[in-house]
């Protein structure tokens, strides 16, 4: 069943959106939050577990000190206050992905609270998002529903549990209600999650790969008529796991809420599931504030004491904040404001930095990412970084172009081959028989033919109108099916006509 929606513009005309985000960040500690089992992604199911992760009788948790340090660093980077003492609590609920049937989390005593993050939108506007809290908790195991349709629990025959993820340290970052974004709400949503992702990646505390679930976003959306103080009823769209999806999901929910409100029906407070294929959400379970998790302080753990000295020591280790980093990178790379903003908005700043680190110049890196890869990513409907282009590939392609082995057109073709998994650039060039015609003999023949075909143009060039040379070069390129090096062709034409370029 598809829900009715209003157009985004109409929704904006009538209503004012209020947003809220819960971003879960998986920390990349060596071991788990409360056990010594390895915290590694992608291993054989149920191998990175010990008696603690499996909730065996008699086990006790021990807090991972590195996870606490990472959490404090995240808190500091989000301009939060760090609690001098805080505690863990038990969130009690029965579900088979939670081996103890309670999740050890923080409830009323988060480690970090009262922060903010300044988000720069695409036109340079800065929007301040206030952070309510960042708290520590453990991840649950992963359920895979077998049989039935598309891995959904409904209609499944049975479910498999992988406890490798059980006990992986998480930091949950919760915003205060975000008001005043108006029609920029979807853009802000994407930019906020991108900023959080950038911060945790920059801190080195998380692998920050959204496609692996290292950063997961629950997006809360509600609408209220313009001018009203009181918030509307919110929906919470769970596990929106790419930046583009965050933007789309917020936009969709705004349109859906608007249609519900327009129909005179109340919005139902519920969780929603995001579907990338249809770019829409469907109803999850009804969620009310009365969900009773019977929280109480975790009696197996002592309070965490974060001395001010320790906090300051950690503050001193913080890397350059992303906003400052951006300023530095722009200066280093010599991009104009517009060029740099395009790079940031396209989400390829890190990729360009990596490409430069791999040996490309700033302009070459930008040319490739902005000129070739961003467009391909858009066509494939993924974030550019997820397309799978390695910095080394770009350097290799560029080296071949500069050496005159292939031209830009061929290089783009080779890139497609790399993305299609056909091999390395060198292999693809070899396989496809691509090579710039570098022997001047066949070129000179083609030039003679082109000049003969357009005698008027040759005269113009001789007469000093060098820009007319394009028609001859075009003719040569056509004759050589694009395999000639256009620069070399130009040199040879000028030489032949005895004109100084």
């Amino acid at each position: 069943m598809t829900d009715a929606t209003l157009s985004f513009e109409e929704a904006m005309e009538k209503y004012d959106p209020v947003l809220g985000f819960e971003v879960h960040v998986e920390l990349n500690t060596k071991t788990k939050m409360f056990s010594s089992a390895p915290n590694v992604f992608g291993d054989e199911p149920n191998t990175n577990v010990n008696e603690v992760d499996l909730g065996m009788p008699g086990v006790l948790p021990v807090v991972n000190k590195t996870a606490i340090e990472s959490s404090i660093k995240i808190g500091l980077a989000l301009n939060c206050k760090i609690a001098e003492t805080c505690r863990f609590a038990r969130k009690n609920y029965f579900y088979p992905d939670t081996p103890k049937n309670f999740q050890t989390s923080q409830y009323d005593e988060p480690i970090a609270y009262d922060g903010y993050l300044d988000i720069e939108l695409s036109d340079g506007t800065v929007f301040r998002v206030e952070i309510e809290r960042a708290h520590m908790e453990e991840d649950a195991g992963k359920l895979t529903h077998m049989g039935g349709a598309a891995g959904r629990i409904q209609g499944a025959d049975y479910s498999l549990v992988d406890y490798n993820r059980s006990g992986v340290p998480l930091v949950e970052i919760v915003t205060k209600p975000i008001q005043g974004a108006g029609s920029r709400a979807p853009e802000l949503a994407k930019a906020y999650v991108a900023a959080v992702r950038e911060i945790v990646k920059n801190l080195g505390v998380s692998d920050a790969k959204m496609e692996r679930g290292n950063v997961r976003c629950d997006a809360n959306v509600s609408l209220r008529p313009h001018g009203r103080e009181r918030f509307g009823i919110r929906s919470e769209t769970k596990n929106v796991n790419s930046l583009r999806a965050v933007e789309h999901a917020v936009r969709y929910e705004i349109q859906r809420h608007a249609a519900v409100l327009d129909s005179g029906e109340p919005v139902i407070q519920e969780t929603r599931h995001w579907h990338e294929d249809t770019r829409s959400t469907t109803s999850g379970r009804a969620k009310s504030d009365a969900d009773d998790y019977r929280y109480f302080p975790e009696p197996d753990l002592v309070p965490i004491v974060a001395s001010r000295e320790w906090v300051e020591e950690l503050r001193a280790t913080l890397p350059e904040p992303p906003a400052e980093r951006r300023k530095r990178l722009q200066a280093d790379w010599g991009y104009s404001d517009l060029e740099f903003r395009d790079v940031v908005n396209a989400g390829v700043m890190d990729e360009i930095e990596e490409t430069i680190a791999a040996g490309a110049t700033a302009n070459v890196a930008r040319k490739w990412w902005m000129g070739e890869i961003v467009g391909r990513a858009k066509n494939a409907d993924v974030d550019p970084g997820q397309l799978g282009v390695k910095p080394g590939t770009i350097v290799e392609l560029n080296t071949m172009v500069e050496a005159g082995k292939i031209n830009n057109k061929m290089a783009a073709e080779v890139l497609d081959g790399v993305l299609a998994g056909e091999g390395t650039p060198a292999e693809i060039v070899e396989k496809r028989g691509l090579a710039v015609v570098s022997d001047d003999g066949p070129l000179l023949e083609a030039i003679d033919a082109a000049l003969a075909a357009q005698p008027g143009v040759a005269d113009k060039i001789r007469g000093g109108k060098v820009q007319a040379i394009g028609a001859i070069v075009g003719g040569v390129m056509k004759a050589t099916r694009g395999q000639a090096d256009a620069g070399r062709v130009r040199e040879l034409i000028l030489e032949k006509l005895g004109v100084e370029g």
């Binding site: 008696e51 499996l54 909730g55 065996m56 009788p57 008699g58 086990v59 006790l60 948790p61 021990v62 807090v63 038990r90 009690n92 029965f94 088979p96 081996p99 103890k100 049937n101 309670f102 479910s159 549990v161 009365a290 009773d292 019977r294 929280y295 109480f296 009696p299 197996d300 753990l301 002592v302």
Partner: protein, 519 residues
């Protein structure tokens, strides 16, 4: 009395000396205890202290100790004082190689893949583990009648309860089926069974013995501790199992005091011993009061000053305990759901959903007392009730801690009867949970405050000739004081009785005809 009957009646410290002197081997000692278990534990009128007897492994460890001793040299010199002295372990504590049931059907047949820290320490000391002892299901009870595997009987009177929840450990030691045992004490589960079986039991300071591997009932109250026949023996065992454990975040970082030295050099001269006004008198059996008063008199004669202290908030302790304990238990026992281990029961009718499998498993696997406490705790933690119940109970806990602080400002050690009555009859209180709960009124305050407590035999009650327990309480981390005072009182009392109290226990008849292999 046969040679073996003499052997099994020796204290652990006496056995340790004989083993060290080469007068007896660990295999002989261990076999003597295994024979005793075979003779008195089984059958319809058996003590039924054990749920599992670990014959082969116990004898193998004993043989290893004997071999090391026989070889002499550095390895022999490095043997722990208690090496080769057998021990029984409460079946709430997990052990590799033996089943661990927690006295519940829900864990029937489950084998732990890991050892509790205390068990590791027993293995490091090379103490043969005789087996796992009976308990109230998940340690919930004061009589061991709530065990899913049937009650344990009190060796003093087989128709009476051995206390609980650690009735199995206490009865095993009282019936000479083991010289030592491990117990766990959440509200008195080591001390009250000690009191009613004429044995010694110690609840150490919270955090001084690792809880890792003790199946949790109430995490903030649970504590593993020693069960023995003498005060010195408990000190020896406490020294083996105590000390910091990185697997238990609530475990104290400080090294243990020299508890054995405290027990060996017992002295109360000039010490102030406080009688807690609220923990004797009304509600306490006359025979219990009489023995308690005699103990006070003996301590006074030995040079102690007896003072009276008041702990007015102790009257709220039982009520607060029955909110905190079930609250924590309701959460701790959530993991028993049939998904990963233990019993799994499928519902009779469709649909076969995970919720229904969990429900059917828990309905079939838990006994009534466990269900009672899970329901109570779930209710107390529920939204809208939390502040009134769990929150208030935590405040009472703070008040109890303050009462202790004030009392310990006036006295070095506090003293009270361990339990208000002697052992009651099997079945007598089974259908009256509140009467059952009242048995722990004197032991619960120590758990609520985390302070250590020791129960030692104080004689026999006039009315029924059954053992009476005397409880000593000390400030947190001052466990040594318990051993210091306990050893003095024990020696004064034994001087009066002309020997250990357990010498007066009725001789148990063999419940199972002796088999060929017996000596």
């Amino acid at each position: 009395m046969t040679e073996n009957n003499v052997l099994i009646r020796l204290s652990a410290s006496a056995l340790a000396e004989k083993l060290a002197a080469g007068e007896v081997t660990s295999v002989e000692v261990t076999q003597a205890y295994l024979d005793r278990i075979a003779a008195v534990d089984g059958g319809p009128r058996g003590v039924h202290a054990f749920l599992h007897v670990n014959t082969e492994e116990a004898l193998a460890v004993a043989a290893e100790v004997d071999a090391i001793r026989a070889a002499g040299g550095a390895a022999a010199a490095e043997l722990h004082e208690l090496a080769g002295v057998p021990i029984a372990v409460k079946d709430l504590i997990v052990t590799i190689g033996q089943p661990t049931t927690a006295g519940s059907k829900i864990l029937e047949g489950w084998h732990s893949p890991y050892d509790a820290t205390v068990v590791k320490r027993l293995r490091d000391a090379k103490m043969p583990i005789l087996g796992k002892t009976n308990l109230d299901e998940f340690a919930m009870g004061s009589s061991t009648e709530h065990s899913a595997y049937g009650p344990t009987r009190n060796p003093w009177d087989l128709d009476r309860i051995p206390g609980g929840s650690g009735g199995g450990s206490a009865a095993a030691v009282a019936a000479f089926e083991a010289p030592l045992a491990l117990g766990t004490d959440t509200g008195g589960s080591i001390r009250q069974p000690g009191a009613v079986t004429g044995t010694v039991g110690v609840k150490p300071t919270y955090g001084s013995v690792s809880r890792y591997g003790a199946i949790a009932m109430a995490s903030s109250l649970d504590q593993i501790g020693p069960v023995s026949r003498t005060v010195l023996d408990s000190a020896l065992l406490h020294q083996v199992i105590g000390g910091h454990d990185p697997h238990d975040s609530t475990s104290l970082p400080d090294p243990l005091e020299d508890l054995v030295a405290a027990a060996r050099t017992g002295n109360v001269d000039g010490m102030k011993i406080g009688i807690i006004k609220e923990l004797h008198g009304e509600g306490y059996q006359a025979g219990v009061e009489n023995r308690f008063n005699e103990s006070l008199e003996l301590l006074k004669q030995a040079g102690a000053e007896i003072v009276e202290v008041s702990c007015p908030n102790f009257k709220y302790a039982l009520g607060a305990y029955y909110l905190i304990m079930p609250s924590e238990a309701s959460s701790n026992l959530a993991k028993f759901d049939g998904v990963r281990y233990g019993l799994r029961v499928l519902p009779k009718d469709a649909p076969l959903t995970i919720e229904r499998v969990m429900g059917a498993t828990r309905a079939a696997g838990f006994g009534d007392e466990v269900k009672r406490r899970i329901i109570l705790g779930t209710y107390a933690l529920s939204a809208g009730y939390y502040d009134a119940y769990y929150g208030s109970a935590q405040k009472v806990r703070t008040l109890i801690q303050r009462d202790f602080e004030a009392a310990f400002a006036q006295a070095d050690v506090l003293i009270s009867p361990t339990a208000p009555t002697t052992a009651f009859k099997l079945g007598e209180k089974l259908n009256d949970p509140l009467a059952m709960y009242l048995n722990d009124v004197a032991t619960i305050p120590a758990n609520m405050a985390g302070v250590p407590g020791l129960s030692l035999p104080g004689g026999l009650a006039d009315e029924d000739g059954l053992p009476v327990g005397i409880q000593l309480l000390a400030p947190a981390r001052q466990d040594a004081r318990l051993y210091r005072v306990g050893a003095v009182l024990e020696s004064l009392l034994e001087a009066q009785w002309g020997g250990p109290l357990l010498d007066r226990a009725p001789e148990l008849t063999e419940t199972v005809p002796s088999h060929g292999g017996s000596h």
